[in-house]
Symmetry: C2
Subunit: 386 residues, 2 copies
């Protein structure tokens, strides 16, 4: 096991009806800005029910945070917050709204320079406004971590940042809020969470028995519950298991003390920034081919994964077993309705060099747990993904 | 799944050599009291190496916290802290030292009344001194939770308490510190952690897939690594896996959203308070018989446990499978060198009514996940444990 530090101060409030806990989580004199996305929280009535429990606070609203939240939109919220002196933020939505709120929370207090610089230049974030979240979409894990991914449209760039200052103070997770999600979003969420686990698990063995078992527990739950969530949207237990799994897939725990990959994510970000595919779609395209191209380096974990997640017989030859493990991974994404080929999204081989050029321009030239995923390797991966 | 709240702000600093991180975890102007147990931290040189990294602080020492830390001893530390105005505590040791430090941290600021009252009368704890820990014994999980068990000798009472104010600020977990532990303590630690998981897992099904998988991951790791730890004390990976497993066995995570039992612990506490057996010894005596007596209520989880932890064939009849699961549990404790019968510790059937009288005097008359473990049930359990 590698040495590690782990800390996660976010308070999780989980279960049906727990929105009643909201008001007591927020300091009493706060001026609260509620942030949300495309307006589904208005349609479902969630926004109204939240305002109904916040009657003791001064409350404002900022809607329109898009999937892959953009610097351009988020800076508008920053301006309002600075001008109207909001001092507590409440993100209501999925990973995009929460990621966007993390940026806004830090940017609002980052007055000495352009906040984009803490993303691209890594300028330190010394403070951020406190914020909580009400999660409506199980997928990214943003509700219980300190990372976010921000897009800058004019630069066609989608870049992650992390800071100890942007853990949510609390997150309210009510599985019932996910009943009304379109099937596509549930499917994307399952694939996203699955690949979050894979990025932290499918590397090389390092005697991290607990981390492996926990990762496998999350993967098995996604494999078992994902299809049920599509068929039976109002099954509380299924939605509850998916929601808690997606949170635990990226809250720092399973990644502590182990090597991590993240090459699939970095390639996926470029595809979204260039061609607008959903985040999970890009991951579903890249991961199976990445495993195929990197299978020599990843062989031991691939075999363990095949046996423990897909029940592949220990008698199979390693080549066959790893090939089957990858095939079953692709089949799972397809069964969830998330297509796994560039062609499925109308993209051909002409995109390959553009994606690679973008990666290179962002300095992403030595990806993966051993830094061996070079632009050449990504080229092979993308060819296999056509 | 049940509704739940989960929060755990303790920062874990894990790995060989991480003691160098210690000084920067403590506020610079602190006056630090180091607390420890019987003095093994002196023999191993750990105390000296800790003082060597704390040269910038005013540092004092308080040794002699016993296994099953007593109110009588702990109150001496409280007196010193109040008089000499220590404002940061550092527990160096295992669960007893850390539990004791939690009591001391809260008691030092609890000046309006006898601190014993927040244990037996549940008076609220509104503040506690901040403290960190350097763990030397993987077992209780106290290094990453907010619970403690305190013994009052004159009353032959051993009682748990919890408070949001007594989470450690940080805990340093270096597996190398466990190399010098006597085999008995390693064995006790493995059994203790195993039964912590069982108290949160072996109840009844509630569609908590992730919690089940995580619990099973911890149990499997203990079954795999426990015997190796006895045979090969300086195997870093084995000790690292045990240490991290014991922490995760009782940090609140696997118990979130599920029913919990704890009857074995409550009976065990009485045995320790009356007859001085090690905590883990009492648990190893009680658990197998408790599972036997309660097997009708626990049947579904017993079968799942038998299949997933002990690889029992799904073809076995339920009766046979549950009996085998219990037998294998007992065999595991015995193989670790922890005896599972009252007679092994020189106790006969005359102790049964004394233990039950003690339980009743502490109000422990409806134990277990359904409150069905009455004194009559405990009597059956203890008879089976002779």
């Amino acid at each position: 096991m590698q040495n590690f530090q782990f800390v996660n101060p976010t308070k999780i409030i989980f279960g049906n009806g727990e929105i009643v806990q909201l008001a007591k989580q927020i300091p009493t004199t706060s001026k609260v800005l509620i942030l949300y996305g495309g307006g589904s929280v208005k349609k479902t009535g969630l926004l109204e029910s939240i305002k109904a429990v916040l009657t003791d606070f001064q409350v404002g609203e900022f809607g329109g945070i898009e999937p892959n939240p953009t610097y351009e939109t988020l800076m508008k919220a920053v301006e309002i917050i600075r001008k109207e002196k909001y001092d507590f933020l409440l993100a209501v939505g999925g990973g995009s709204v929460i990621d966007g709120t993390k940026f806004i929370a830090a940017a609002a207090l980052f007055t000495k320079d352009d906040p984009w610089k803490f993303i691209v230049e890594g300028l330190p974030i010394s403070a951020a406004l406190p914020f909580g979240t009400v999660l409506t979409l199980p997928a990214t894990g943003s509700e219980m971590n300190n990372g976010a991914v921000i897009t800058r449209k004019e630069l066609q760039a989608k870049i992650p940042f992390m800071s100890a200052k942007v853990f949510p103070q609390f997150s309210i997770l009510d599985p019932v809020y996910t009943y009304t999600l379109p099937k596509k979003q549930i499917a994307n969420g399952v694939v996203d969470a699955f690949i979050h686990v894979m990025e932290q698990y499918l590397t090389y063995p390092i005697a991290s028995k607990v981390q492996d078992r926990f990762s496998e527990g999350l993967l098995l739950t996604l494999v078992e519950e994902g299809p049920k969530a599509l068929q039976d949207p109002e099954n509380y237990d299924v939605r509850a298991n998916l929601m808690w799994t997606a949170t635990l897939a990226l809250n720092g725990l399973i990644g502590s003390g182990v090597p991590q990959d993240w090459s699939t994510h970095m390639v996926g970000h470029e595809i979204t920034a260039l061609y607008g595919l959903d985040h999970a779609q890009t991951l579903a395209i890249v991961l199976p081919s990445m495993l195929e191209v990197m299978k020599a380096e990843k062989l031991e974990k691939l075999l363990q994964y095949g046996e423990r997640i897909w029940n592949l017989s220990t008698d199979l030859a390693p080549d066959e077993k790893s090939a089957l493990a990858i095939e079953k991974t692709r089949d799972f994404f397809e069964a969830m309705g998330v297509k796994t080929r560039l062609a499925d999204y109308g993209l051909g081989k002409d995109v390959i060099e553009k994606i690679i050029a973008s990666l290179e321009s962002h300095g992403m030239v030595k990806l993966g747990e051993k830094g061996t995923v070079t632009p050449d390797v990504v080229r092979q991966v993308l060819k296999l993904s056509l």
